[in-house]
Symmetry: C2
């Protein structure tokens, strides 16, 4: 069995590596991040793993396999955090991967495949404004124009090098038999159902749509109601309709969410009719058709604005859904059954490194419950018992995949 | 007749007294404002007026009357501007008042009353965050706790002193026979009706209501639509209903507007369900009952929020409507008829110094059309011919009031 106390101690140790006075902040490319990685590399070494960095700037710890030409089974996640984030998002999956390696040793289990424990570089949106640097790099799909992004005089190119990467080597990693990532759910679905673990069948695609409505900024006192072009009033009706359309789409079998998370008005003075509203829609689904239809619906909806209101719409980004691999889903499901964990299949609404790893290898994810669904905040919490149960399932799945 | 060219030249001269590179910015308590007042005082003197400052920090120019115990007829407005404002808001009324004095001289008309030309201090919201300093001071109703407000190390108390005022002298001015203020409309009603002038029957009261809706900030990807407490979605429905309620009330005989001019969400990140919305409602009417009913309606509406959304409501300010005086309305109307100007009675949706002067003296206002209703912006424009026509009406009304 895995050692829950050791997982707890490791998570506790990593939680102490945080920016002073800001629990918990260990942002990629910061001194604290480097400290965290040094600590991780030391644990990897103590666990007998061979430590290395790949071209993507990822930290790897290898437990060599008995039949190297079979390639590697890779487990892991990321150790960076958002500003003022939690103690589990990302790092729980790295510690669990390490624990699986240690537990296999302790049980004297020799695998045919290598087992690679990975800490991906900069999964969260970093100071460079982009995310999943390491997993994109490993998959050979890191946009090369991102390398010129700079923060405080340092380019992303240099920052990746400073983490041991070689950003111009856009060579997809090969011979990965499977990739498995344990992560906290960051939602309330497992908790609501009282289920131990979630087995991810797909990572939702994300479309980000920017809409700007333009009316006319008028004096709030002197402009009669009937003669206004109030951009906020038009935007309010739009938000209501976006929400209703999302609720309608979520009623079907597919995962669907649409959220207006950014919303600002101009000029924003008490006595001025709002002349302009900018909003950002975040629409997600595991079904590409749903995303395409929602985009079409949005475009159509903007043709029905009040005559005095004009609209600009821009698709800022559009990432397709990523189905997880049936073999790995099945392996996780069988392993859950074996260790006696209750589980349910679910879609990950959140983006993860696993979405990029799925381009390279059969991939799936395992979710552990998040208390109250809180994440990206200091209150983020998952039970050590749930994480340890997840580690158990990961170990069993690895053993099963190794033997196929 | 009044001299339209002289009015144009004066407005032009004042428009040149603006913060460098910022047309047109002459904010109260700034060096530019002092420059403007120096220029005005010089014109007052050249026109034979006796220049003084009152305890409220207002600049006055008196044309002595033949029968001093009858008191004074006061005309004027304010010379301060909002940041990046227009060339007419306020200062047009000061220049017109001066022109009336000059024109009476040129026509050799001796009045029984004094004629006072006034430039009120700081009508616009100044750097101290409050408005109508000078007219409140003249009426003896300047809130004494405002005097402690500070901006860049200077108190409002000191700032009023620096303009020649004595802020602790809360003595309402006496013996004012009538107060008349010409101002630009700042709306599109006169333009839409092709009417020369507006005669203000009341200045609307203003209620400012702050509403904060609190839901729960959740991950936009992982939180199913049905389990959210989205403060923006709740706020959108509220904005829609506020607008509909205002439109309904505006259909009656009363002036009514309600505007949500400030609206902000938290945390305001693309992938986070909005957990909090703050909005500010600006509701105006000439009928106190409408304002009271709207406040009650708002309170009632907040009891119908989705169960997961809570609301806080605060009335930040509540100023009652100010009816203008029938005698002065009638005098302006008769004068308009005499000079052949088309005119309509209307409610001022905007606040003005006249609202405070109405506590001291029979008061009314005259509006000249604003192009496209634009105000508080560089595009603000009124025709000199309309302003001159207004000046003519003001002069005739003064002569008539003097003879009553
Ligand atoms: N896992 C996670 O929080 N990803 C951040 C990107 C997103 O899904 O919004
Ligand atoms: N006249 C004018 O613009 N007053 C400002 C205060 C207001 O009415 O909102």
């Amino acid at each position: 069995r895995v050692n829950a106390d050791r997982i707890a101690a490791d998570l506790d140790a990593m939680s102490k590596i945080t920016d002073p006075g800001r629990p918990w902040t260990r942002r990629a490319f910061s001194p604290r991040f480097d400290e965290g990685r040094e600590w991780l590399a030391r644990q990897f070494t103590e666990a007998g793993l061979i430590v290395s960095n790949d071209a993507g700037g990822n930290l790897l710890g290898r437990r060599p396999g008995g039949d190297p030409k079979r390639g590697t089974i890779m487990l892991g996640s990321h150790s960076d955090t958002v500003p003022d984030g939690g103690r589990f998002d990302g790092v729980a999956g790295v510690i669990v991967a390490l624990e699986v390696a240690r537990m296999l040793d302790e049980r004297g289990i020799r695998l045919r495949h290598h087992l690679d424990v990975v800490d991906f570089l900069a999964e969260e949106v970093s100071v460079f404004g982009v995310s999943c640097i390491g997993s994109r790099g490993m998959a050979g799909v890191l946009p090369q124009d991102w390398l010129a992004l700079t923060h405080e005089g340092r380019s992303l190119d240099q920052a990746i090098r400073d983490c041991g990467g070689v950003p111009e080597w856009q060579i997809p990693a090969t011979n990965i038999r499977a990739f498995l990532e344990l992560h906290i759910e960051q939602g309330r679905v497992l908790e609501a159902h009282g289920t131990d673990l979630g087995i991810v069948t797909a990572i939702a695609g994300i479309t980000r749509i920017e809409i700007v409505l333009t009316g006319q900024p008028d004096h709030a006192g002197t402009t009669p109601m009937g003669t206004r072009a109030d951009a906020l009033v038009a935007a309010a009706a739009l938000v209501t309709d976006i929400d209703a359309e999302a609720v309608r789409r979520a009623h079907g079998p597919d995962h669907f969410t649409a959220t207006v998370g950014e919303f600002s008005i101009e000029p924003g003075a008490a006595n001025v009719v709002p002349g302009r509203v900018r909003m950002l829609i975040d629409a997600r689904s595991d079904n590409r058709d749903q995303m395409r239809e929602f985009l079409g619906w949005s475009r159509q909806r903007l043709t029905k604005l009040p005559t005095k209101i004009s609209a600009d719409m821009r698709v800022l980004s559009d990432n397709r859904p990523t189905p997880m691999h049936a073999d790995i889903i099945n392996a996780l499901e069988a392993a859950s059954g074996k260790v006696g964990a209750t589980h349910r299949r679910m879609v990950s609404g959140a983006g993860h490194d696993a979405a990029f790893m799925a381009r390279l290898a059969p991939t799936a994810m395992l979710f552990v419950p998040s208390k109250d669904g809180r994440s990206h905040c200091p209150e983020e919490f998952s039970e050590i018992a749930d994480i340890a149960l997840g580690a158990e399932v990961m170990a069993e799945a690895v053993i099963a995949i190794d033997q196929e």
